[in-house]
Amino acid sequence: MKKATAQLLLALLLFFGLWYSLSLINYVDETTGEKLEKETEAKIGSLLLKQIDLKYRATQNDSLFAVVDDIHRRLCEANGIDPETIDVHIFNSDIPNALALPGRNVVFFTGMLHHTENPEEFAGILAHEIAHIENHHIRDRLTREFGLTLLLTISGMDGAPEVLANMLRMISSRAYSREQEREADQTAAEYLVSAEIDPIHLANVLLRLSGMQAHNDQPLPGWISTHPDPRDRADALMQDHEGEPVEIRALYAGNWKELMN
């Protein structure tokens, strides 16, 4: 048995030695893998945008889009994110929702914008969606839900509308875990502070939207109803940034509500 043990140890040593030595060779060019993921995401993102575009019209409100673009640039530039890599789309719909799509796209429905009281609240929601993108939440969720093979297959063709509709439904409803939402809130608050926007506005919009149901017996807006308890999240945000001095710079001098119309 001693002989067998000695030979086993030597065999194991050879096995792991060979495995380790072979793993030192760079077979997978990481940039190739990342490139493939980015291309897949971008293709799926554009297919999903097409699906939305078939149902809703993109907004023609140029003055609103100019302000949104300013806010988007300020948030990105303050946080070392190239604003050109993230596209913000606004669609005309009463749906009170905003969502991050694969391929670094953020979609807002005008219904969501109407629920914001000021541009800072809009910035809070935008920062939250950018945080989902930057933290790769959308990619993780899609891979887990649909599998890499299906994603690669869909991205390789222009069809599969049923799968895309299913994917869109998932993204606009139960996209993220509680932990991912919490992480996106924290990252969003950091983005807002860096961009000289008080993160309290994100907490405010969360609280106000969640309070709408309680007071007016209205259904919860989509963006809130699909997220974990907004009151808890607002409390966490306020606790995290309580007493923290925030240098504030106004986002828009005009009337935000008028801009909506």
Partner: protein
């Protein structure tokens, strides 16, 4: 990797044929079982059970063939599991994964060649002991059944 040693006695024609068949069994099973790691183990396991009370020479080689297949089973199972995790789960393609596949492939090819060689050699009555598996078989497979 392979040693020619003297066996306790000279095996007869029937023993040699059965011993050789135990390797042929694993050879066929390697081809069939490449994507399903349990097939080769199952084939040699069944053959071993059928011959566990046979002549010493037959038993010895059935045991060596089965032990080598158990090792391959674990190596293959890890490769298949890891692949499924990458394809259907959230695993990513890494250098370690590809290195493991190459290592497993080298072992499978070596084992394949050793199996062919040993099947031919045992058919001629030559006793062949493999690295580690031969020593392990000597430790667990005794001449007297009682």
């Amino acid at each position: 990797m392979i040693f020619h040693t003297d066996f306790a006695y000279t095996p007869n024609e029937s023993e040699r044929e059965k011993a050789s068949n135990s390797y042929l069994m694993s050879l066929i099973a390697i081809i069939a079982g490449a994507p399903m790691p349990f097939v080769n183990l199952l084939a040699t396991g069944i053959f071993y059970l059928g011959n566990r009370k046979g002549a010493y020479f037959t038993r010895w080689h059935c045991t060596q063939a089965m032990l080598s297949q158990i090792t391959l089973f674990f190596i293959n199972a890890i490769a298949v599991g890891w692949t499924l995790h990458i394809v259907f789960g959230d695993g990513t393609l890494t250098n370690s994964y590809i290195a493991y596949l190459i290592t497993a492939l080298i072992i499978i090819i070596l084992e394949f060649l050793m199996t062919i060689y040993t099947a031919v050699a045992t058919r001629r009555g030559t006793h062949v002991e493999w690295w580690f598996w031969g020593a392990l078989t000597n430790a667990i497979c005794k001449e007297n059944l009682s």
